[in-house]
């Protein structure tokens, strides 16, 4: 479904994404596991086309067509969407309206159901605005509900667990699985091994490059043994050096 080939992005002369290649299959939850500063969010932004990031080299093929040069809207209309790590607050836009504009011809009942899936009581939240009166965790869960409502072909979830309390984590993981069950492939970006366990496959990202891809348990172990003790973030070691 998504084929990222030899993608590069330099910011201020520094390689942030460095010859990155990644393949996400249709129907797959694909985890990207990496420490802070390894380029996870930058990768999400590049695929979605936001933040004025334009790759200096490489291709991003989605359903057989290169997406480079397409606007954010065009990518969204082709079936890609992004749940932001720190979602924007929009004054005067209600939760109800946000979810309705995310979904195509959604009914009120469906909107309520999606809020319930992410652990929010519809009666309490539907008429609230997605502004700074919501906590970070509440806003994150609404972001997840909006992705559920949109039903994209590919959902990019950028650290969906950050800011979520430990009691709410199970409902969040259920939402990710539910998203996948209703037909969305998921690119799940995280540094949390428990969240990565939700994926079918996991790729380990280090200094802007995918080092390894495999089964979540194995990749979590490899990440723990190799990446967590490792201090470097800016220049990837050669893959052979990492074992």
């Amino acid at each position: 479904m998504l084929e990222v080939q030899n993608l590069c992005l330099n910011l201020n002369g520094k390689p942030i994404i460095n010859d990155l290649s990644l393949h996400v299959n249709k129907g797959e939850i694909h985890g990207v596991l990496g420490k802070n500063g390894t380029g996870k969010t930058t990768l999400a932004y590049l695929i979605m086309g936001v933040n004025n990031y334009i790759p200096s080299a490489g291709k991003m093929i989605f359903e057989g067509k290169d997406m480079i040069g397409l606007s954010v809207s065009q990518r969204a209309k082709k079936g890609i969407s992004l749940a932001w790590q720190e979602p924007a607050r929009i004054e005067g836009l209600s939760v109800r309206d946000y979810l309705m504009l995310s979904g195509n011809a959604l009914g009120v009942k469906q909107v309520e159901d999606y809020l319930s899936v992410v652990g929010l009581e519809p009666a309490t939240y539907l008429d609230r605005d997605i502004d700074n009166t919501l906590s970070g965790g509440e806003r994150k869960r609404i972001e997840m509900a909006s992705i559920l409502a949109m039903r994209p072909k590919l959902a990019i979830l950028d650290e969906p667990d950050s800011g979520i309390d430990i009691l709410a984590l199970p409902s969040l993981l259920d939402a990710i699985r539910g998203m996948n069950r209703q037909g969305s492939s998921v690119l799940l970006i995280t540094h949390n091994e428990q969240v990565a366990e939700t994926a079918h496959r996991v790729s380990v990202l280090c200094a802007g490059r995918i080092l390894k891809t495999g089964e979540p348990g194995q990749m979590n172990l490899w990440f723990k043994e190799n990446c967590q003790p490792c201090a470097h973030v800016n220049e990837p070691e050669k893959e052979g050096d990492k074992g």
């Binding site: 809207s73 990518r75 969407s81 929009i90 836009l93 504009l101």
Partner: protein, 318 residues
């Protein structure tokens, strides 16, 4: 009762009122207080128990006395409709409002100038809110797409002990034209005042907003809030002034101006002053472009950029 000679004029106003978002039934039905003024003619007037509306037509407008009786709690909003349907005209409304002690009322006003080419609409208001009275005034303008209109609302407001005065003015449909808004509120002990102005400037609109709140009584509270979105060659200047003159007075000036494009010019001048060491007055003023992340968030849900900006602007002006 509407007489035959003004029936057509009245129908025109009602239709324009409805197009501007007003509730047609509120003007046509019974049981709600209302006042419909076209140019300098009073087309319809209706009061309910607890409210007295007196009018006097002048050469250029109408003098209005609106009184809410002591202790009266008016269950339904009072609907006001002011407007000029032709392309040219002058309308001067001199308004005196008395909300007597312990009364409670909300007023919904629609000001309609759908065809304005050379129209001037002035309102000069003298408003007295009694002790423990609540007066909520929400005014929405509909100006059409030509923009050659001058709107000059000015008000002096006195809010008695424990009284509440809330006022909002919104001009988001059609061109603003030239707006010169000047409201000044004086709050006594534990009184509350809230002034809100929202406008969407386009073309060569020229917007001046001056909100002044004097917190003269102990524990008085005030908020001067403005939300402006400016596109094309619009110019806007917002002055928000709050004076904390008594112990435990609390005031805040909150101004956001968003500039959409490269030619609009926004200025914000917050003035906060405290003359009592137990008073506290704060301000925040932000001028900037429409937040790119907000736009991209909505674009990532499939909206085009212009649709995303529209959703954001509507939210700010809601």
């Amino acid at each position: 009762m509407i007489n035959f000679s003004i029936e057509k004029e009245y129908q025109g106003m009602v239709e324009a009122y409805e197009k501007a978002g007003g509730d047609r039934d509120a003007l046509l039905g019974t049981g709600m207080a209302r006042l419909v003024i076209h140019e300098n003619r009073v087309l319809d007037k209706g009061a309910v128990e607890g409210i007295k509306i007196e009018t006097r037509e002048t050469e250029t407008g109408v003098d209005v006395n609106l009184t809410v009786e002591e202790g009266a709690k008016i269950p339904h909003p009072v609907h006001l409709c002011f407007g000029i349907l032709p392309q040219e005209g002058l309308q001067e409304i001199i308004m005196k409002v008395k909300a007597r002690d312990n009364s409670e009322v909300s007023v919904v006003a629609h000001c309609i100038f759908p065809n304005a080419f050379k129209v001037i609409h002035k309102m000069d208001a003298d408003i007295e809110i009694g002790k423990n009275a609540k007066f909520d005034y929400r005014e929405t303008h509909y100006h059409g797409d030509y923009g050659d209109i001058e709107v000059i609302p000015k008000a002096k407001v006195k809010v008695g002990k424990d009284g509440v005065y809330q006022s909002s003015m919104t001009i988001s449909q059609g061109h603003v034209g030239k707006l010169d808004y000047d409201f000044e509120v004086f709050c006594q002990e534990e009184a509350v005042a809230e002034l809100v102005v929202k406008a969407y400037g386009k073309g060569v609109d020229d917007i001046k907003v001056w909100e002044k709140i004097h917190l003269d009584g102990a524990g008085a509270r005030g908020l001067a809030k403005s939300r402006l979105v400016l596109s094309d060659k619009t110019r806007a200047e917002v002055k928000g002034e709050t004076y904390g003159n008594a112990p435990y007075a609390r005031g805040h000036v909150d101004c956001i101006e968003l500039v959409n494009g490269t030619e609009a010019v926004a200025t914000a001048i917050p003035i906060v002053s405290v003359t009592n060491d137990k008073a506290k007055v704060t301000h925040e003023a932000a001028i900037g472009s429409i937040d790119k992340k907000q736009v991209e968030t909505l674009m990532a849900r499939g909206l085009d950029e212009s649709e995303a900006v529209d959703v954001i602007v509507k939210g700010i002006l809601k």
